[in-house]
Amino acid sequence: MKLMLKIAWRNIWRHKGKSLVIGVILFIGALLMTLGNGVIAGMDAGIRKNVVNTFMGDLVLIADKQKSDNIFFNMMGTSVESISSYGQIKTVLGSQDYIECFMPAGENVVMILKEDENSPSYAYLMGVDFTQYQKMFPGNMKPLEGRLLNPGEKHGILVPTHIRNEHIYTAMGVWIIPEGEGVAKENLTKEALENFQNITFSSSIVMMGMASGSNTSTDIRFGVKGIVKYNALNTIFGHFCVTDIESYRECLGYFSAGDQAVEVPKEEQKLLNMGGSDLDSMFGSEQLIVPNARNKGAGLEHKAAAAPVKETNIEDGIYNLVFIKLQHGVSYPYALGRLNKALEAAKTGVRAVTWNKAAGPIGSMTLLIKGALFVFVTLLFCVAVIIIVNTLTMTALERTSEIGMMRAIGARKSFIGGMFFGETAVLSAVFGGAGIAAGIVIVKFIPFFHITTSNDMVQLLYGGDVFHPILMIPDIAVTTVQLLFVTVIAALYPVMVARNITPLDAIQRD
């Protein structure tokens, strides 16, 4: 081994030009591989920090009847199916030791209506218990104007800057300001500033839910409590307005906890319990409509209004999804497998999907960008391998006399192979190692330049608003393994060529 490495090392110096060519390729390859892995790791960490930890969690529960897993960012505005069994779901989730925390929410597309116009705008509306929401996703948004929602506050809404600027002002010509606040001119868009004299200002917006299977959605006027900015990926998350869950249900026409608390009169209960196939019973012997219906009806309204309201349990109402955060280190396939089994066994009517499936095109785009980076690094490997293979093979053939003579005086094929591999390994260790070191230094320095973007796609590449590649020990280990892989692959063919050189080849060449 010592002799093999001695010859390998001296041959590197003897063929300086070729060694330098291979070395430079290995250096650039290792440098770009390190940077690529840094970007991928940074993107992973950014996505985890900005999407998983502050917006969606690791997994999302959606109704079984939901056709597509994509419940966020659905471009066609397809509504999200309702979940009415949260009580059961909560019991199941509470018994799973790999789950860190969870929170139910409502989420659907709503129309933003303008009283004097027929052309509505659209937004996503999320209904949450805001106290619970802030605990689940702490510090994910900050009020740019106004304030956040107070505990138990109803019919209040938080409007992201993106919705205000693009979906309301650009589409409807109304500039939203929070209740009790003046116009913050510094936050006006360029167009709004130019058109300042003609702008209509409003501190409330009217929204109407667009949930499927609900014919009872209501126009709800929301008082704007704050104009908010998500701390990261605001362009993407900024499509989501946030309100309390009960107002959300009201807007979407869902059965709310308040509804349940109302004592429904016997006659209404009969109507409510009547299935679609039982319509004939309306005309049965028992009279639902009596001659004095008008008076009775008035009585019913009165009775309903005056009915004693039980203590409401918010969680008894309708939701659309449940956000779930997993314990650190729990793999998605493991958690999905166990959770879906438990949910199915409990007949909850919901299924768990990963955040990137629930995020639809955004999640897919993240995987796509990650895949593209991986392909880029792989292509880099291939190019490096091809050039190194070619150069080393030429070197092997040029040294036919030397190798053939070694074989003639008793060197085995394994010695020749080892010597050639040793040369590649030494070059790889020296130049590739330098490339990795340079890559680490660059990755460490990039955050100091504070490179930011407002472009959605680039934000996904960055894993947030700021380009922050990172390299942890495992990432460096991965790069080292990749370099080792390149070295082995690149050396295989030249080693084979060198091993197959016979003493006779050397003599014939001479």
């Binding site: 002799l3 001695k6 030397e402 003579m405 003639a408 008793g410 001479d510």
Partner: protein, 226 residues
């Protein structure tokens, strides 16, 4: 005792659409400690014969025994081991390892054998370098030596493993007549000192005076042995 026994050795090469009959039924016996010269004109088959004896080339047909062992049916590893342990080579074009200095070149076969300690290897190599008159050049690389000096290193390297046979294919072809004479004198001397069988090929009639025995070869057939 016979160190080499060759019986009806044929060697054919394909050359385009034709076949070259390099050896056409050679019979040869070489005794231990001999200093044999194979002579013949260019293309007579002397290099091919040496290559087959030295396990560098393979016979098309026939039997070749080296040290009593039939070599025509051996695999690559066994053949390599025979080359390492039983045979020493001296080539026409010196063929030293360019990145190793004189002493490292001489030590090289012993290091491949993995049988000796570092000190044994060093003392054996130094002894042989001394015997071939290159004591002052142990740290020189081949590129820093003359043709005659390189061939001396090759002789030392060929002998360092105490082989049964040393094969030298036209060892003086690339040397001037004076240096060539010195090299053959040295080989002869080493033959006496080390008791090693030497077989060398040449087409130069002037070097025949050094040989104990001469085998003439022409058109792939042994013409005369004396």
């Amino acid at each position: 005792m016979n160190i080499i026994e060759i019986n009806q050795l044929f060697k054919e090469y394909p050359l385009g659409n034709t076949t070259v009959h390099a050896l056409r039924g050679v019979d040869l016996v070489v005794s231990e400690g001999d200093f044999l010269s194979i002579v013949g004109p260019s293309g007579s088959g002397k290099t091919t014969l040496l290559n087959v004896i030295g396990c560098i080339d393979f016979a098309t047909k026939g039997s070749v025994k080296v040290g009593g062992r039939e070599i025509t049916a051996l695999n690559d590893r066994e053949i390599t081991d025979i080359r390492l342990n039983k045979i020493g080579f001296i080539f026409q074009t010196f063929n030293l390892i360019p990145v190793l200095d004189v002493i490292e070149n001489v030590e090289f076969p012993l290091l491949l054998m993995k049988k000796h300690s570092a000190s044994e290897i060093r003392s054996r190599a130094e002894k042989l370098i001394d015997e071939v008159g290159l004591k002052e050049y142990t740290k020189h690389r081949p590129a820093e030596l003359s043709g005659g000096q390189r061939q001396r290193v090759a002789i030392a390297r060929a002998l360092v493993t105490n082989p049964d046979i040393v094969l030298a294919d036209e060892p003086t072809a690339n040397l001037d007549s004076v240096t060539g004479g010195q090299i053959l004198e040295l080989m002869k001397e080493m033959n006496k000192i080390e008791k090693t069988t030497f077989i060398f090929s040449t087409h130069d009639p002037n070097v025949l005076k050094y040989a104990n025995n001469i085998t003439k070869i022409r058109d792939g057939l042994i013409e005369k042995s004396s």
